[in-house]
Structure formats: structure tokens, C-alpha cells
Symmetry: D2
Subunit: 258 residues, 4 copies
């Protein structure tokens, strides 16, 4: 009987101390609970709402810290890429290349990611349904790569809210690939007048439980020791000290599902 896997970490590489602290804590919890763990941090944020928001420490430094963290804990790692030319660079440092939701239709990017031979995790666009992700899968397969993950991260629901449609879990599983629920970005509240995306972190458990119940193979959760001071997506990250309790419930739920 298989457990779900977890993609987790801070939203962005803020500093070596932060990524090591988060990875250390999550690594320990996952080991204890038998959850395969992929360390995640973005080395660059290319699509912040506002141009004055933090975008990262610099590409190579950021990627290097992600890789270093993975090596230290013997963990696979992932980060997101935003253009075709980033693919080979990032592939030297991480095991899973993540395609952002806004970019899931960019053929060049999907093909470049595919051609690295790494696992490609495509987030479903906020404007797409699960069946349409078939075309993203096919673009990657056609480029010779069968290692594909699809991630649900909520759908546009009016301007200032997203809704998670759980029909997308079985619909995307029909494409023959593992399906992940992004519990963090699914709770975003976009288009806020402040230029800072809002959130509802108290609902992370609701989003995650429904995902496990409906058959998700993995969960994506951004976590931070103190989300209030995080440099990106603070409004939705799970407080690191709440992660263990949540994962315990989810493991129990998973056993009832499989």
C-alpha cells in the first residue's frame, strides 16, 4: 500500500539558513510518517503581481542552494522555470522541473523541460480543466519524456478568488500520470488592490483532505517557520509547526482510501 508523496519547502529561496531549517524539519516528519519527500523552493519568482516584489537571490545562487539542500538530506528537489532557456540550467541542479500554471500552454517551455530528461511537473492553468491537460502531457511525451506529474492549483472563480474543482483529480489521473494537489496556491486570493495576493491558510487542511480522499497521489505545501515575514506567498503558507499534525491526519485518511 502506497503513501502519498509530499512536495514542500518555503516558497522562494530566501537564505541558506531558511531552506536548511525548513528541509530539516520536513525531512524529519516525512521520515517518521513514511512520506516520500521532494524538497521545493523557487530560485526565482518571475511572475510576481507587482514589479517591486522580491524575486530571488539570483539564479545560480538560488539553484545552488536548492541542490545543496537536496544533497545534504539525500532528497530529490524541485524548482519552477519560466522560459525555455532556463530548462537546461535548472536541470543541472534539480530533479523535477515545475512549469507554472500561467505557462502550462507554452509549447517551447514544455518541450525544453521535457528534453532535459528530468521529471516535468505541470501545474494546471487557472483557466484550464483537467481533461485539457491531456495536451500538455502529449507535448512532453512527444518530446521523448514520459516522466510527468500534473498539479491542480485552483481555477479562476471571479476575479478575487479561486476554487478547487476536485473533479480534476480523477480527470487528470486518466492521463496516466501522478496528480498532485497544490494546497498553498489553491487558496490564493488574486487581484487584490494592494498588489499582494491574499489567502486563507486556515483552510489548507480542508484542501488537502479532500485531495487525499479523491485520490491525489501527492500534495504540494509551502511552509515557513513564520509566514508573516516570508518574502513571497506568506498569506498562504502553512506554519511549519502545524505541518506534522496535518500530515498525521492525512496519512490516516490515505490508509482509508487505498
Amino acid at each position: 500500500e502506497k503513501n502519498f508523496f509530499l512536495i514542500a519547502g518555503p516558497c522562494v529561496v530566501e537564505s541558506e539558513e531558511l531552506v536548511m531549517e525548513v528541509a530539516d524539519k520536513v525531512f524529519g516528519i516525512c521520515k517518521k510518517l513514511g512520506i516520500p519527500y521532494i524538497f521545493k523552493a523557487s530560485y526565482r519568482k518571475a511572475n510576481r503581481t507587482s514589479g517591486s516584489s522580491f524575486t530571488g537571490l539570483g539564479d545560480e545562487l538560488g539553484l545552488d542552494l536548492v541542490a545543496k539542500t537536496g544533497k545534504h538530506f539525500h532528497l530529490p528537489t524541485t524548482s519552477d522555470i519560466h522560459s525555455a532557456i532556463e530548462a537546461p540550467l535548472a536541470a543541472e541542479f534539480v530533479d523535477v522541473l515545475q512549469i507554472p500554471a500561467f505557462l502550462c500552454r507554452q509549447t517551447d517551455l514544455l518541450v525544453a523541460a521535457a528534453e532535459t530528461g528530468k521529471i516535468v511537473n505541470v501545474k494546471k492553468g487557472q483557466f484550464l480543466n483537467g481533461p485539457s491537460m491531456k495536451f500538455a502531457v502529449e507535448k512532453i511525451q512527444k518530446a521523448g519524456n514520459d516522466k510527468i506529474i500534473l498539479t491542480e492549483r485552483g481555477t479562476t472563480f471571479g476575479y478575487q478568488d479561486l476554487v478547487v474543482d476536485y473533479r480534476n483529480i480523477p480527470w487528470m489521473k486518466e492521463h496516466g500520470v501522478p496528480v498532485v494537489m497544490d494546497c498553498t496556491h489553491s487558496l490564493q486570493q488574486p487581484n487584490q488592490t494592494s498588489g499582494v495576493t491574499g489567502g486563507n491558510p486556515q483552510l489548507i487542511g480542508t484542501i488537502a483532505k479532500a485531495a487525499i480522499a479523491t485520490g491525489a497521489d501527492g500534495l504540494f505545501i509551502e511552509t515557513h517557520p513564520n509566514p508573516a515575514v516570508a518574502k513571497s506567498d506568506g498569506a498562504n503558507m502553512l506554519r511549519l509547526d502545524l505541518l506534522e499534525g496535518l500530515l498525521e491526519q492525512l496519512v490516516k485518511l490515505r490508509k482509508a482510501v487505498i
Copy 2:
């Protein structure tokens, strides 16, 4: 530890044979699985898309068959009402008065239902969120009745689809009342050019599992021995012979949640 309860039956009172057959089968399954069961059938359909669709056998005959079924199996019963004057009539026959989603804002109807002293089950309008159901709860309470259930049945998502937003489960539970997931109508595909609402019955399990995982207290499932010939909502009813297998999974899931 408490199990969830089930509101189930055929969509509409088609005939005595039908309601008895369905009630008998569901009664047996629920007894076996320890699920409290409320028998449901509409005695009249007042809001069919098209004026030429079947609307029922006649009010008194329909209500009488619902009550007879309840008495026969010693089951509580429920049916929906559509105007204030129907409330006292229906209250003589059923234990739970159900308020249709389109009508959940009609103060007169809520008050009339409340004043019967029966349990009032208000379906959340396709245009409302869970927090707004507070006002429906308050209208009923102010009329002197605290026996309230709230039911999620999907939200308008473009014209021809509904989406179930599971945040509504915890949001509605905050009003201090039991919350039910209507697994049948949540899968409707409205505004079809045929004038007959479509559906996705193969997703009933997905809708139900996510509901149990996120804390729903009850499930609403319309079921029919042969949905293809049903006189209303055939596109979404669960085939009666699939009910037991689904409920077994859900009971297992429920135990992992509580």
C-alpha cells in the same frame, strides 16, 4: 464516534412501487452499515427547466406515499416545498422540510417552514457562499426553530457547469448546524439547449468522498433502480445497485476522519 447520515431516495414520487423498492433497498444497506437514514422523495417538482417536464402525481397523493413509506420502514422522511402555503400541508406528512436552492433567500418560505416546528433543511443557493447562509439560519431561528440543516449543492460555474467548493463545508459548520453534501445536484450540467439538465453520475463517489473528508455530517444521494427511465434528474442519480459499495467506502473514510 458518530457515522454520517444519509438522505436518499428517488428524485420524485413516480409510483408507490418505485418509492417502496428504493426505500427497502436503502433501508437494508443503511441498517447493515450503521448509517442513520432519512427517506427522501419530492412530491412535486415546481421548478423544472421546461414546462412540459413531469412534475409529480399530485400533492396529496405524493405526500401520502412519502409518509406511508416512512411509516412502513420506521424512517424519518423529507420532501421539498416551494411556497409558504405548502409548509403546513407538507409538515403533516414529513419530518424534514427541504428548501430548494433557488428559494433559500425567500424569507416568507423560510419562516413558514420554521413555524411548522419540523427540521428545516436549506439548500445553499448556487449563487451564495457558505458564510452567507448565516442569514438563512438566523431567519429560521428568529421564527423560533433551531432544528436546521444546511446543504451544499454546487455553485454556478459558467452557464453549463457547477463546481463544488469544499470550503463551504467548514464555513457552514461554523453556523452551528449539521452540513450535508448533495452529491446528486452538485453534478448537474444546467442550461443545456435541450431543456433537460445533464450530469456526470460517474463522479458521485468523488463528490461524496471529498465531503466526508472535509467534515460533512450527512450526504444526500438520489438513487433509482434505472436512472435512464427516471422522470426527473435521471442524468445524475446513482444506480441503486452501486449504492452499497459506495457507502462502504465512505463509512471507512468517515472512521479515518473523526
Copy 3:
């Protein structure tokens, strides 16, 4: 070449002074601009979000004041009804029976309104598209009444916003009936945590201009000398002193369209 017609007045019959003041002012403007005018005020508000909001002066007093206003200015009048039993009562006082959007699928109500022989103005539900309003039209026609108006009033767009889809204007005109744009309720911001629906009255001109340009036959505009103190829908009513300037622009636009 025909001008558009106007359905206008205060949202609800607050007092004789108010309805007379509004009718007098609008009557004068419409006469000057050659706009056929139907006086509108609700005699009862049956679906307020919150049970503690103002619902009217009482049915007969409210209806009587609507009728009195119409007689005084030789104007046709309209008010909305909420259940089948109200239809014959209201029909004694007004010329156009308006069916609220939430109730546009209630067959009994449509038939009762139809049977009065009055003009029936059905507001399109926030959950319906224009083509589906065919079924409302057919229910009324089948009850022997061909005097039908359809009104667009916005569509559910996330929980706290509505969007006006102008495709509904030509789509509803295909049903062979006059189509009205409700410029007031289309700007509602529902599901506010306060229990009071919000609005965007500065956009009334935008909503109205697009409606005239796309072929709407009539406009519905609630107006009040001082929306800030209005007892219902204050957040969206047009300040009475702004009406003339807006209508002048719209008449100019109309001439360019026909």
C-alpha cells in the same frame, strides 16, 4: 425609429412623498427626451439577504401607492411578486408583473402571473443564460399570455461579484420579446459579510451604454434623491439628479444604433 423605454423608480415604496418625488422628476425627463416610462417600485421585498432588513410598508398600502402614482402621472406601473397567490392581488394595481431573478424557474409563479393577462417581465436568474430563458417564455405563452419582457440583471461571477454578459441581449431577443437591461442590480456585490449587498453605482453608465449599443429595448434603473439613506439597494441606485444627463447620452447612442 423607436426610442428605448425606461422602467425606473425607487427600489421599494418607502413613503408616498418619496414615490411621488421620484415619479415626478423621472416623468418630466422622459417626456422631454421622448422615452416611454414605466414607473417601478417594489411593494414588498421578500428576499432580503438579512431578515432584519426593511421589507415594505405592507402589501396593500404599498401596491396602492404604486397604483396612485401611476394614475397621477398617467403612467404604466410595475412591481415584483414572489408567490403565485400574490399575482391576482398585484394585477389589480400594476400593469407589468415582474418576476424576480431567483424565482424565474418557478413554474407556478410564472403561470399565475401569466393568467392575470398583465405583461410579465421575467428577470433572468443569475445562474441562467439567455438561451435558457426560452423555457420561461414558453411557460408563460402556454398559459395563454404573449405579453412578455425578459430582463438581464447579471450573472454569478465568483461569490462577491456579478458580471453582465452582453451576449444575452441578442440571445434573449431571439425569443421574440423585448429585452431590458437592469442597470441597478447588475452592479450588485452579493455575499458581503455585512449582510448588506454592495455596489458600484459609478458604473451605471457603462452598463447602460453597452446595453443600448447591443440592442436592448429598455433599461431598468432604480433612482433615489439620496441613495445613502434609501431603505433597500442604496449601494446601486443612481442619484436622481444624475439621471437626465445619462439618459441624454443614451438617447444619442440609441439613434446611432437603430
Copy 4:
């Protein structure tokens, strides 16, 4: 008093014959009607739903044909770009760089386009509202370029439909830039199971008229002598022989608005 401007052409550079035929016809109509005209054709389609759809003749050949067409008719030209590295290349050939809606949040792309010194036309994402486009404007301005256009192209409305929210016209005009309505892509029907986006070309006039009435400064219309055989977006392009009649009506409307 100023007329609106028109951005028009075939969706994609299919052949020299096609772009010349379309440009010639549209050039003649616009000259006659006093409409400033910008010739548009995509030299590459980077985000087709399906990987097997036509993507263009090759970058340099495509760009060269766009530029050649512009020179021949003394017309400004535009094409869309999909990554930062394309910006300086495309800027050698066209006058307006268009940013696709899915990419309107990609800071690198906006900055690269801005730095060419060309006019940058940003399409509003299907997941954004007009006020949020302020951040796109600011990113371009901060990169030293004030020549900005914003384009409305519809908003996600369920999975298989888009809706045009005309509030975005005044909302985007508040950013101090010209606002264009894309009458073609606003009518897309995405997420079709065929992998080919559908459409509603008979509603192009409705979309355009409402845009002019609400103050749009420009219109974007893809047109083709025979949309049925077009290699991209055929479902929404206007038949070339219908363009003149439509533009005549719109010019008349424009005069009534300004």
C-alpha cells in the same frame, strides 16, 4: 473628435498571398472610413492547445512578411512575442509588440518588450481584472517605456466559455493608456475536448459595439477571406467581406459616444 483605431489581420502568417490580400482589403476600408489601421499577424503561435497544431512559417520568414506588408501599405504593424529573447528580434520588424494574455504577468517578458522602445500592447490575462493591469503598466514604465496599450480579451467563465466584463474598459482607462477590445479571442470557447478552441463569430458585432459604447479606444479583429480554412482561430475570425459593414456601424456609434 477622434475615431477608434483598428488592429486587424489574419491570426497567423499563413502565406505572403494571404497577408497581402487581407492587408489590402482592410487598408482600403479603413482609409475610406477614417480609421487608423495597425496590421497584425502572428509570426509564431507558441501556445496552441495541442502540440500538433500549426505554429507558423518560421520566425524570420514570418516577421519579414509582417514587416513587408507594413512597408507596402505604409502601415504600422504588430505581432506577439512569447519570451524575453524574442523581443529585440521582433522589434526590428514590427511597431507594436503584443504580450499574450497568459504571459501578462511575466516580468522578464514585459521588461524586455519595454526595453525595445516599441509600443507594448499587453493583453489582460483571462484570470485578471482591469485594476490589476496597473502592475503590468508599472513594470513597463519602470523599464523606461511609456508607450503602452492594454487589451481586453475576455475572462475565464467556467471551463468552456469566456465572458467580456465591460467594467474593465473604464477600469483600464484609469491607468492612463489606450484600451483595446479584442473582439476575436473574447469569443473563444476554450477547453473543448477536440483540442481545438471553438467560437461564436456571429457575436463579433455585439462585442465590438459594446466596446465602442463603453469607451474603448481601439478594436482588435482577426479576419480572413475564408475562416473555415484558416490555420488558427478559424472559429472566431470575421469573414473579410463582413468587415466593412461592421466598421461602418461602429464609426457611426463612435460619433455618438465622443
